[in-house]
Amino acid sequence: MRAPIGLRIRNYRKIKGLSQASLAKSISISPSYLNLIEANKRDVGGKLLHLLAQELDVDLHDLTGESETRLINELREAFADPLLAAQNLSHEDAHLMVAQLPRMARALHTCYRGYLDASASASALANRLNADPLFSQLLHQMLSQITAIRSTAEILRDVPDMEQDLRTNFDNSVFEQSRSLTDVAHSLIAQFDKEVKQHHSSSPLREVNDLIIGENNYFPRLESAATKLRMEYGLKTPPTEDRLQHLLSDLQQNTDMKDPVAPFQNEQPGRGDTPENSYDKQNELPPAQATRRFQLTRKIVALKCGTILREMTNDPRLTSAEAKEIAIRALNSYCAGAILFPYHEFLKDAQRSMYDVDFLAQLYGGSFEQIAHRLVTLRAPDAHGIPFGFLRTDPSGFLTKQFPLPGLLMPNAGHACPLWVIYRSAQSPNQVMRQIVSFTDGSRYLFIAKTSIKRVETFNNTSVFSTVMLACNLMQADQTTYANSLRLDRPEHDTPVGPACNLCVRQQCAHRNTPTAATQLN
């Protein structure tokens, strides 16, 4: 039930304060004819509709009802939200409100969008609180002090016949802990202020990271889509480049293909195009075979799963078009990985090989980075692998991609601790390097890093390389091949590290290059 166009014309005329006669005169029709239009007894369109919109000073879409249709749909979405569900507002209510009180309807819609944005901000802040190492340490410190105060206060209350010396000690303890708690609380408030300011400039990439972190880097809908696509086209493991190329050509020729996404428009030249036309053959070598297969698969996903990718990025955590575009590319890559490395088969091989990334890379024809990335996504609740964190740096050491591991203190951006093996690895390309690290909170991790050359050096082109690092909790390290011959039970031999200099509390570290933001902790 859309509001009839005549009713909309009448409403806008009344809002404007015009009589039928004056409006009819200004557009050179008779008042009786305008009356028939407003009563929906005559069609209106073309030049006359333009004239009416012009005289009523409204957008043409508002008169034709296109804007109304969008608004009605948006109000229906708002009415379905748990926030308004108790009001039992129906679809008809949305129609009625848009037809009779259009400005109120828009105001309600604006409020609802504001509410969604605020919820997304709160959610992003909550995610940040969980992931930020400094917050984590401050909160832990507060909880410890509150525990000591509460427990000691209960003792003082419940044990009246205590020796005076002991009572004095407990009294002093409460006093000292309370004072220290106040300092930590002030530090926390200062961090909150900083965090809120930073959030307003939150980058689209961060929003995408929040989305991925929120979903534990596991997307069952994409896993299902990948399985369906493999079955539909009989793709084997691993599919050959020729097979993928033919499949892509077939799909591109299919005129029924609807709504493909274009996830490659902002990528580097050569990425995402077919091997034949993606690089200048005279000056540049083609990408490695693993990369070509991955690119072809991404194009197939873009053509076949565009609607799914778009729907999945219609998420309140993604507040800008740029964030949605980045998310589409990330989810596209996820789906491509799920096609090339099918979940259950890959998990089984990963466990059998003790997560040997190079072995899996050869078995599946993937690159070290593709395999490492896929290992991070093995988080299905009913069949999961070891939880891994993932980091990638460019040749300058700048973090270009990360998937956090719960508990591991990782910087959100910039550079990580210079002692991490990810930086040493760049000095020895193509070799897997490993390291056991200890953080100041006593947590210990196994780091595995490898620097891969993505484009070999020629006379005209310098080589391009990136370093990928996987991290796992030391408790699970013995399930990996990388723990072989390492002394996991000798923490004194660990490398003492932090997340990054500005987040690290090791004041005396000889490798510190920037002051810590955590000075107030001490």
């Binding site: 410890s144 003792i155 407990f170 000292e176 802990q177 006593g442 947590s443 210990r444």
Partner: protein, 134 residues
């Protein structure tokens, strides 16, 4: 701090104020306690003389609480030893990891003293001599 005789409870906690109050409430409840402040010492203590229960913090220097728990569960002599986790790390992932590694019970800080005393009593099957009022 060691009470006379072999301990009933090994307390592993690196925060001095919390350690002091834990020692007091558990001794006040009638049990003998022995305390250490890092993970390495905890493993040595468990191997040296088996307590009836280990009250274990997670964030510890020199091998964290998860590692200590894992070592305890791997040793045939201690694999059935009750381990009560007391920690400020109350995230679901930590609880799940503790469960998977074989923790007997999990209490999140800040706690009421009675919660700790009751959990210990349940796990060792021995009622306390005195229970602080809730």
């Amino acid at each position: 701090m060691m009470a006379s005789g072999s301990p009933d409870i090994l307390i592993v906690e690196d925060e001095p104020a919390i350690l002091t109050s834990l020692e007091f409430i558990l001794q006040h409840a009638g049990w003998k306690t022995h305390s250490v402040t890092d993970g390495e010492a905890a493993i040595k203590s468990v191997q040296a003389g088996q307590p009836k229960i280990v009250v274990l913090d997670l964030m510890l220097p020199r091998r964290n609480g998860f590692e200590v728990l894992k070592v305890i569960r791997r040793q045939p002599a201690t694999k059935e030893l009750p381990v009560l986790i007391l920690t400020a790390k109350g995230q679901q992932q930590d609880k799940q990891t503790a469960r998977e590694l074989g923790a007997s019970d999990f209490i999140t800080k800040p706690y009421a003293n009675t919660d700790v005393v009751e959990a210990v009593a349940n796990l060792i099957g021995q009622p306390p001599k005195a229970v602080p009022a809730p």
